[in-house]
Subunit: 412 residues, 2 copies
């Protein structure tokens, strides 16, 4: 029998009524002849409540106990979903991570999936179970303790089950109806994409689009799992939402698929750094140790043995970055004249697999920004992405200008 994985996030199972609506969607797929694996998150708000209790109890908590407490939210939803399906005469049962078992590393609170043996679920499917409702986000370590995969880990659980059970598709039900060319709150012309390539989705996810967890997209790409993002509140149809798929499955596409933004960025410049071999390591080693997530890095041309080094990081990490740099200077590890922080910038990116075969995307982007009088402060590029730092006050304007310039409101 063909198999399907359906994942419902916290808002999609936030009340008993919403669980019923989600169960009805599952029933529709079962009626079509699928055996379904449903992955559920905790009811919205529950995980935060549990995390709050743990943090209040022990600010420096034992991650093993954190996992034992926090994973309970998903167990509740799994049981309630199974009961709801049974009420609809759909043979269903709940599975907690350790019952599957979903084996993970012992890196508590951010464990990685090691293996999902299919024997237990297969045996129950063979006995007539139509739906396995699996508690997302959790697994079991070699030591027999409960682990969790980190925030958003239920997406990753879903994709991993789809890969392990050769599911025809992995449907991620959420509170938005798909992936858009840009944030509809910023541009009214934003258009829902019918399809998007894994690589594009990965870039968008790491650029701040909150639709899917980055790791779930990586996993889907590696095992070529057809991943669909769709709303649990809209119509149910086979072509709803956005299909995240292999590049080859996308027949036509625009050169640029989407415009992403990240609001709270900071640009830090070390002025007149003594330019010598190993200087990058001497700068970025301490930053990494201080927990600063450095994003873009630009080094100017060296003159007379000195250079300017610019990097970006989230605004919230500027203080830490400054402290790390000053300490490195005092310790004699690096030598620079001044550290200048610009905390009023944002990052705008255009993403598209079409860039691989089309020249001129960068120049089109720069022209569009320039014609709006927007100054570009830093540029970085990858094979399918161009990102720039600009003043934060131009953020909405830049997104709209780029959306227009690349005509994203039109399908290819």
């Amino acid at each position: 029998m063909p198999r399907l994985v359906m994942k419902f996030g916290g808002t999609s199972v936030g009340t008993l009524d919403r669980i019923r609506r989600a169960a009805k969607r599952v029933g529709v797929e079962v009626a079509k002849g699928y055996e379904v694996i449903v992955i559920v998150s905790a009811m919205s708000g529950k995980t935060n409540e549990l995390v709050g209790w743990v943090e209040e109890t022990a600010p420096l908590f034992d991650a093993r106990e954190y996992d034992a407490v926090v994973s309970s939210g998903e167990n509740v939803t799994a049981g309630l979903m199974a009961l709801t399906l049974q009420e609809m005469d759909v043979p269903a049962r709940s599975w907690q991570g350790w019952q599957v078992p979903l084996r993970t590393t012992s890196a508590h609170s951010s464990a990685r999936i090691v293996d999902i043996p299919t024997d237990n679920l297969d045996a129950k499917f063979a006995e007539g179970m139509k739906v396995a409702v699996v508690a997302g986000f959790q697994g079991i370590s070699d030591e027999g303790r409960i682990t969790t995969l980190g925030r958003g880990g239920s997406d990753t659980t879903a994709v991993a089950f789809a890969a392990a059970f050769n599911a025809e598709r992995c449907d991620i039900y959420t509170d938005v109806d798909g992936v858009y060319t840009t944030d509809p709150r910023i541009s009214s012309k934003a258009r829902k994409l019918d399809r998007i390539a894994f690589e594009e989705m990965l870039e968008l996810a790491s650029l701040g689009a909150k639709v899917l967890q980055t790791r779930s997209v990586e996993l889907a790409m590696r095992y070529n799992v057809k991943l669909r993002v769709l709303s649990s509140f809209g119509e149910q149809s086979d072509d709803a939402g956005t299909l995240v798929c292999d590049e080859e499955d996308i027949v036509e596409s625009n050169v640029v698929s989407g415009v992403a933004y990240s609001r709270d960025e900071a640009k830090m410049t070390l002025i007149s750094v003594a330019d010598q071999p190993g200087i990058a390591a001497a700068i970025f080693g301490p930053l990494s140790e201080a927990g600063v997530n450095v994003d873009m890095i630009v080094q100017n041309i060296s003159e007379e043995g000195r250079t300017d080094m610019t990097f970006s990081c989230p605004v919230s990490e500027v203080k830490r970055a400054e402290k790390a740099m000053m300490e490195a200077k005092e310790a004699g590890a690096i030598d620079f004249q001044e550290l200048v922080a610009d905390t009023d910038v944002c990052k705008i990116s255009v993403v598209g697999i079409g860039m691989r075969s089309h020249a001129g995307v960068a120049s089109k982007m720069f022209k569009a920004l320039s014609s709006e009088g927007i100054n570009i402060k830093v540029i970085t590029t990858s094979e399918i992405k161009i990102s720039v730092l600009i003043d934060r006050k131009y953020m909405e304007l830049a997104v709209q200008a780029l959306h227009d310039a690349f005509e994203l409101e039109k399908a290819a």
Copy 2:
């Protein structure tokens, strides 16, 4: 190292602050040199919330899913208690039922404990763990599914662990400071007992005293576990609360240890039943099938082949009892003239192992009631208990009169 089991009920772990207070008590015992197994209930209110969701989702629920959902409350408390102990530098970890594993029958929602292998906990105690915090009320079936032991099952969990791990004592921390000669809300002269025999506690528990679950007392009696009931809000000392122990450990005791009552009883009489062999089975079989919990049974002397049969049951089950009797009459299984229900009665009992060696307890009881003008409607006796049904309006008066008559305010 000597071992201790400490059980904390829902109100004793109802907030993070209360969990901290409970953890401090555990710390005191660890400092004395004990290895401690702590059994926790769900935070007060949590189990009711979960049960409510299950019942709203599926009125006729699958008990396996009920157990999976409802057991999650204890898991949360276990993790939080372990974290709290760690914050106090006490080496502790949480254990869910399946991790121990606490093996039970597959009778979901009312499973019985089959076995508690000690290997896993012993290994961790050997590695330096001082406190094992175990989620109460839950276990795992042979099929690998989560089971629960029924309401109050955490008491039973605690006693079973005390037996399995040869604990010196099993301390049940609750919101009352021990077992009283009667309900202090009814008699201001009620006195806390320092010791009470298992048999007495069993009778009191089944008569409606809500201090301990009946099954936990049975288990403690069978394995001779020293069981102590004490308040989690009072002073901590080795002789606080009430010790439930073997009869031989009680040096001196009053003839009667306590007066119990059960408010909402009903007395049902089948008038002029055709008296023939098998008539009792013909009456009480259908009642049992209808889920009526028959308590006292009295049969009058038979005259001319007919007799009156009286029994008592909870008021809430009267309708069901009437329906079952009428149906049995229509089906020709029994023949009676009339069914009379008196729903305004209550049951008063005096309990004491001293009755075994002292005559005259019954007559003293009847005299005390009679001198207050209270008419006795039904009497039943056991080796260590005498129960009577009387009009409900005399309940408080009867309890006080009996407490006075047997001088329960004085210790032996």
